[in-house]
Amino acid sequence: MTESTDAVKIADQALRIAKLVAPSADVQVNVHESSEGNIRFALGVVQSCGEESELGVNIRMVFGKRSASASSNQTDEESLRSLAERVASMAKSSPEDPEIMPLLGPQKYAQAPIAFDPAITTVTSASRTGVPAAANHIFSESGLVGAGFFEYAASEYSVANSSGLRASSRETSLGLQMTARTPDGAGSGSARGESHLVSGIDAVACAKVAAKKAKQSAHPKTLEPGHYTVVLEPPAVAELLGFLFNSLDARSIDEGRSALSRHGGASPLGELIASPIVTLRSNPADPDMPCAPFDGEGLPREPIVWVENGALKSLSYSRYWAAKQGKKPTSMGGWHLTGGVAESTDELVKGVKRGLLVTRFWYTRHLDPQKGLITGLTRDGVLLIENGEIVGPVNNFRFNESPFNMLKNCDAMTRKTTRVSSFFLTCVPAIRTNSFNMASISVAI
């Protein structure tokens, strides 16, 4: 990794140039400086790798009700001038947007959480090969084949605008994912890990979990589709939970085109949309997933309670819709799902008379937006549970189910939560939920 350059300095430089190009424009500059690398491996070889340090600049200009934005990774003086001229030309040419909001002025941000790990500089093109080395060793010892991906980045975000707003933040992020399969293709398991800390990534532990899952899932028996009690491991929970976010958009609800829209325009706030044990919060200073204390507009991210004891407490407002409705605009950190008391996933399994333990979901998509219905498939291990014990692997399923039902029918969760990002940062427990619609069989392994 290379030393980071000064994103703040580039933001100020781009702002100065943009104002010279278009003195009458309101201007905002967002800079993202990153130094990142990755390595990808499969079947005993390194497939690809990459590393680059890059600085991306986005300039947005507003002329009254007209605006446009443009970004580039070329940050010399001439390139910035050219970029500013392009934005000015596009913005002036754009039809008007009556919903345009003025740029934010100076903001106060909460004490920035420490999201940056200086140890990121110890990750190099040589040291990262330790990930495939560890995985290859464990998979080989287990009589399995496997693959994986490790990526890491140090980033700096900086925002500067002509209304006096200045914000900057640094963070590191590391992610690891592995899949192990039996050589005959009869079993497949996966595991993942992510952290803002270098020490939070454990390739050996990840490979061991993937290997264990591959063996556990091998030679599945056929089980008919139907509604099952399921214990969902954190990756499955995070994947389905992420779809909830769009449903919380206040404007869509008010306009009658959200799963939370109510007849006659009634507000869903206060409704029990989840089991009483469920609480969903976001907090930029969450120690498990710290992030920048501001969003792309420079709006301060604040702690938000979305669902408390099952009741809907907050909706998401854009700046425009908030102003129109007299509400506060939303700027959030990662989602943290809490409320569980179970000490382990095993404890959740013990409470199941007949059901399924699901490792993760795959290829999830909206199916019926009016019901918040999502379709997708199970992957990398579905285990049949009978009388509180895992009996053995069964086939994968396609599910047609909604995150609302997942949370409403949830009767237990683990106390421990795990950081698993899907659409955005989330920290979720394993959960047990009933009457989960496994709609058809997938013979894929």
């Binding site: 990755n38 990459g50 890059e54 934005s69 913005a91 991906f149």
Partner: protein
């Protein structure tokens, strides 16, 4: 073969718009002579290749890529979003001790390129220690030339005003329909300019322009529960602004709104095993997911197991597995006119061409790259290597994969007339398939009940679910050449880190017997 810097600078008409003698129709694009590069690009490529070779690389390629992406979005009668993104840089890929290494730089000059090349060499040397088998490249002829995709009017030269007004005008047509409450328009333009040079001596320049217009309408009726949206079915395409200007979007905007209202008021589909007639505007995505991805060799062998998954089409099934009925033939073709994946050479520098994947229903071939051909004892790459930008490593990406039309002049009306009881589906909506490409489920923009050879009316909450092999084996009618259309996506994802690939799929309408139809309302 050593590339000489002087050679890089000396070219004939770079990217000349005049077509040279070509093996392909002019609609495919225009070939030109070897490129004449700017001094900065020539210097960067020269130093990348020579420094990597001096440092021990047995193979080197360098790609200088400029990628432009513009989106103009409207909401009802006003602009919602105008954005432009451009990236520029050089990516250097090397083989050292039999292992790949890659690195990139966002500055295109000699020093930055050399630095990237040396980082790639260091990485490759480290990777070699944890790689059990060496990379083997299939032979590729040395080629020098340039190519420009067909584009009469550069979409980036069309003002935001014109694009915005075009989209707002669609809403003006749509809003006259009672019940049409919301409208959203988008025009996305994608431009790629790239130079590829290899240590073997190939030197290629390509300029590719793609465009994707779309418009959707949402209908709400207070007396009926819920809402329904319908999106235009015009495919994204290789081409420029002329594709939008000559399209039927404006003529169809009001009809689109009427369809949204009709869909909202339509009865729920009757679930069960039904005969399905699928229009090209929906079937292209089913082809993409169930055939296109299934015949990627890296997936089939397990190299994509960690992300995209594997495939039902494993090498032991070549020339044996019946994936479709005997009337079903699929071919791959990166030279299809208008195809989003169409180009003259892939990102390995190999000339593109057409070949069969499924012949008369039987699985006969894969999509490969230079480093994959040897895995199945082939000596020729199928030229399907692609990298989305300079900082992404090139790997196997889907070419245009298409369903061949029937030889008979069969129209969609003929297929409907021949169907006693079924559903006719158009336009893509929800889509999902498992990691081995067996179980898929798709919905549609519009679905219509068919009774006794006639369309009765639209139905709501429609989706179909099947197994790829079962589905294609149930195909018993395929439209003729006149009914063949391209569909496609600008942003097919694959790889880690995820890369985006634009790809098209041509097909006629086709009929499938006894497919599992579900009503999402009862799911």
């Amino acid at each position: 073969m050593k590339i000489d810097r002087r050679e890089l600078l000396i070219g004939a008409g770079a990217l000349a718009a005049t077509a040279c003698a070509s093996r392909l129709p002019v609609s495919f694009g225009a070939f030109g002579a070897a490129p004449k590069l700017s001094p900065a690009v020539a210097e960067a490529i020269h130093r990348a290749i020579e420094s990597a070779k001096r440092a021990g690389a047995s193979y080197v390629d360098a790609r200088v890529v400029r990628r432009k992406w513009e989106t103009v979005s409207t909401r009802e009668d006003h602009i919602e979003w105008v954005s432009y993104r451009e990236t520029y840089g050089i990516g250097v890929r090397v083989i050292v001790n039999g292992a790949w290494g890659f690195s990139s730089a966002s500055r295109v000059d000699g020093a930055s390129a050399e630095s990237a090349a040396l980082r790639a060499v260091v990485a490759a040397a480290a990777n070699a220690h944890v790689s059990e088998r060496p990379v083997v490249l299939a032979p590729a002829p040395l080629i020098k030339g340039s190519w420009v995709s067909p584009c009469a009017t550069d979409p980036f030269a069309i003002s935001v005003a014109e694009k915005g007004e075009y989209l707002i005008d669609l809403w003006r047509s749509a809003r006259s329909v009672p019940g049409a409450k919301f409208g959203a328009g988008h025009i996305t333009s994608l431009g790629e300019w790239k130079v590829f040079a290899s240590s073997e001596g190939s030197l290629l320049e390509q300029k590719i322009t793609r465009i994707a217009p779309s418009f959707s309408v949402t209908a709400i009726d207070p007396s009926i529960e819920g809402f329904e949206s319908v999106r235009s079915e015009l495919a994204p395409s290789l081409g420029g602004w002329e594709y939008v200007a000559q399209s039927n979007l404006k003529q169809n905007a009001q009809q689109l709104a009427e369809n949204a209202v009709k869909k909202l008021r339509a009865p729920a589909v009757v679930a069960g095993e039904r005969d399905l007639i699928i229009a090209p505007s929906n079937l292209w995505l089913t082809i993409h997911e169930s055939i296109g991805h299934a015949t990627e060799l890296d997936r089939a062998l397990g190299y994509e197991m960690d992300m995209a998954g594997t495939s039902y089409a494993t090498p032991d099934k070549l020339h044996k597995l019946r994936i479709g009925s005997p009337i079903v033939t699929f071919y791959a073709d990166k030279t299809t006119p208008g195809g989003l994946a169409t180009c003259a050479w892939d990102d390995d520098g190999v000339e593109t061409y057409r070949w069969d994947l499924i012949k008369n229903g039987v699985f006969v071939d894969y999509q490969t790259t230079r480093d994959q051909a040897a895995w199945i004892h082939e000596r020729k790459s199928r030229a399907t290597s692609y990298a989305q930008d300079h900082k992404s490593v090139a790997f196997q990406r889907m070419p245009n994969v298409s369903l061949a039309p029937s030889r008979s002049d069969i129209s969609v009306d003929d297929i409907i007339a021949a169907t006693d009881d079924g559903i006719f589906a158009t336009g893509t909506n929800s889509w999902s398939i498992d990691q081995q490409r067996y179980n898929f489920q798709f919905s549609a923009q519009m679905a219509y009940e068919i009774k006794k050879g006639k369309i009765v009316g639209p139905v709501r909450h429609f989706a179909y679910q099947s197994n790829s092999i079962q589905f294609w084996n149930s195909c018993d009618m395929i439209g003729g050449p006149k009914s063949w259309e391209l569909g496609g996506a600008m942003d097919d994802g694959k790889g880690e880190p995820m890369q985006s690939n634009a790809v098209s799929h041509g097909c006629p309408p086709a009929r499938f017997r006894r497919v599992n139809v579900l009503s999402t309302r009862n799911s």
